[in-house]
Amino acid sequence: MSAARIVKEVKGYHAFIKFLIGIVMVGVIAGMVRFIFGLGVTTNLNDTYPWGLWISFDVVTAVPLAAGAFTLGAIVHVFHIKKLEPLVRPAIVTGFLGYSLVCVGLILDLGQPHKGWQVLRPDYWNLHSPMFEVSMCVMAYTTVLFLEFLPPVAEKFGWHVPLRVLRWLEMPLVIAAAAISTLHQSSLGTFFLIAVDKLHNLWYSPLLPLLFWMSAICTGMCIIIIEATASHKYMGQPNEGELLRTLAKILPWALGAYLAVRAYSLIFMGKGPYFDRPGLTFSFMLELGIGFILPFIMFMQKSVRENDRRRNIAALLVIGGLVLNRFNVSMFGMMNEAEVYFPSIIETLVTLGIIAAHILLFVLIAKYFPIFEHHPETVDYTIPDRLHRTGEHKEKKSYKEQPVSQES
């Protein structure tokens, strides 16, 4: 259409990228300030609240937000719902970026970052520590995600041999991803099992690990919905509405199961008093009502699943619910009324920088690597017993050049 509109769009895109780069730069500077002056001066952490925004958001919340990669990998490759495959790559890129930034957040939060590698020292291992388990899993899974992320890179540069090796590794990686993720998504909940007299009764439950895992799966799918819709709208990527509809059909089941376990844990395993603190009661109602029950009802409606905008709203509600849930467990529910923690400017800037870095890298990777163009309906995925076939990557490449004509 009009050239003016295209120019305007390109300008908007450049402005957006510059804006993101700006926030990332500010975050990097804030991170440097933290390392020069130390945690005590630059954060509002203290002996009462040794964990703050960086743990609550950059680790405890960011990990489930990156859960789309393993969820979708399992749905597509194990349960064989092949038509969702085009969504796998965006999910893996999100996951890889998310986990890399979790590592950044963790290192910033450590008091002795130069000694962080000691978690790997076998003579220091402590199998009783949920933190040990999570850090091992996060390292292993970041590696898995890196390998899963390599195929588009190899495709882009035409590295055929690595591509074939990676294709052969695909299934083992998908299964490793699901197994490792199950462990550490749930172990983030295990963290707070030890805070037995600190975490408020509304959230403390022996089932926290299971609840963390289930809510991570729900959120992983919702993130994919948001991401695919936004990429279509703002980045000119293909419309995956058809596929998102299928994904949205799984969601009421996943959310329903989560709510059932949550209700069971509260009613049969919890102990009162529950509603002794109005602030927490409000936060709890908001989280459960608006963040989980409402979208559960919404996703049950066909009209919501089939409408891009409504589906997006429901998905956003779930994401909001999860974020609030993780903050309730790791921050609000752990506070006492006498002393309130509020993140410092440095803490906030670093976290904003990390979020901006995630979006920025995603946009750039999606622009320069074949992330969304990957529609491998024609690709044979049974590589392990057909290793001798070599035409695969070429077949895939050709897809773009001759899209629909083959079928007719």
């Binding site: 945690l39 962080g116 009783h128 197994a179 462990l183 963290f191 995925y381 049974t382 035409g391």
Partner: protein, 287 residues
């Protein structure tokens, strides 16, 4: 983590708060033995008369004051705050690098060379004992050492040595026996409870008092050893890993096999239609 089950010979503190005069000789002795810096503090910045206002990287123990009325008269009650040296310490169980150890002698000690600074110990401790060096760029955790360096050599801890009245130090079994003897002998003088016998699964610091414990600022703590709470979930980890990994492997093998059979049944038609396509792309790439 130690897997010890018998803690009866662990060296323990019996602190009889009815005998404490609030002289704070223990606070001074602690600072001296552990070479802790002085802190600039102001009176009444904490919750009562006590100073410093809280335990910190510079203060491993302190006496809390509480005024109350008894028979119309004002009275003081005291409570010595310090690391409880739990039988099964939460800090030791959550530390990813095993920086906390429950020693054979009784004290729970911290190995700073292992610490990576994740501060999980501070979250886990039911008594909020571990403190952090917030003043430093690369902080470590600080807490009461139970004067392990002294205990190892057969001495009593600095605070117990300095205390003129209230602290008895010896094997846990004997301290509990002594506490119960006092409760039996002077039932009017005490609240009938040996704090630390069962709290958090049992501790190496045992208190007797004449005021209700919650009034003195003792937080309600579980009677179960804390490591068990997380271990209940963590012990399932290998099983879940194998179950998820194995289950998904089996499932994907099955779905792929079904898919392949379906394709092989469709057979001829597929190969015929896909073959020219590959040739086609080959030619394109050559160009």
């Amino acid at each position: 983590m130690s897997t010890r089950k018998d803690f009866s010979r662990d060296k323990s503190f019996l602190i009889d708060m009815t005998k404490c005069t609030g002289c704070r000789g223990c606070q001074v002795a602690c600072k001296q033995w552990n070479q802790l810096e002085a802190e600039q503090t102001e009176f009444f910045t904490g919750e009562g008369y006590q100073n410093p206002p809280a335990m910190s990287e510079y203060t491993f123990t302190r006496i809390k004051f509480r005024d109350y009325q008894k028979n119309g008269q004002n009275e003081f009650a005291f409570y010595k705050e310090m690391c409880m040296h739990c039988n099964e310490p939460a800090c030791a169980s959550v530390c990813p690098v095993g920086a906390f150890v429950k020693t054979e002698e009784g004290p729970v000690v911290y190995k700073s060379e292992r610490c990576i600074g994740c501060r999980f110990c501070m979250i886990a401790c039911p008594f909020n004992v571990p403190k952090y060096e917030w003043s430093k760029a690369f902080p470590l955790v600080k807490k009461c050492t139970g004067c392990y360096s002294r205990v190892k050599e057969g001495f009593a801890p600095a605070c117990a040595t300095a205390c003129p009245t209230a602290i008895t130090y010896g094997p846990r079994e004997e301290m509990i026996k002594e506490a119960e003897r006092r409760l039996g002998q002077y039932p009017d003088r005490y609240i009938h409870k040996v704090y630390g016998k069962e709290e958090a699964g049992g501790t190496s610091v045992i208190y007797l008092t004449n005021l209700p414990f919650d009034e003195l600022g003792f937080k309600p703590v579980t009677m179960r050893a804390l490591p068990g709470y997380t271990w209940d979930a963590l012990r399932l980890v290998p099983g879940i890993f194998l179950a998820v990994g194995g289950g998904l492997s089996a499932l994907s093998w099955f779905t792929h096999r079904r898919e392949r059979l379906k394709r092989e049944q469709a057979g001829e038609m597929v190969t015929e239609s896909s073959a020219p396509q590959i040739e086609d792309t080959d030619r394109k790439e050559e160009q």
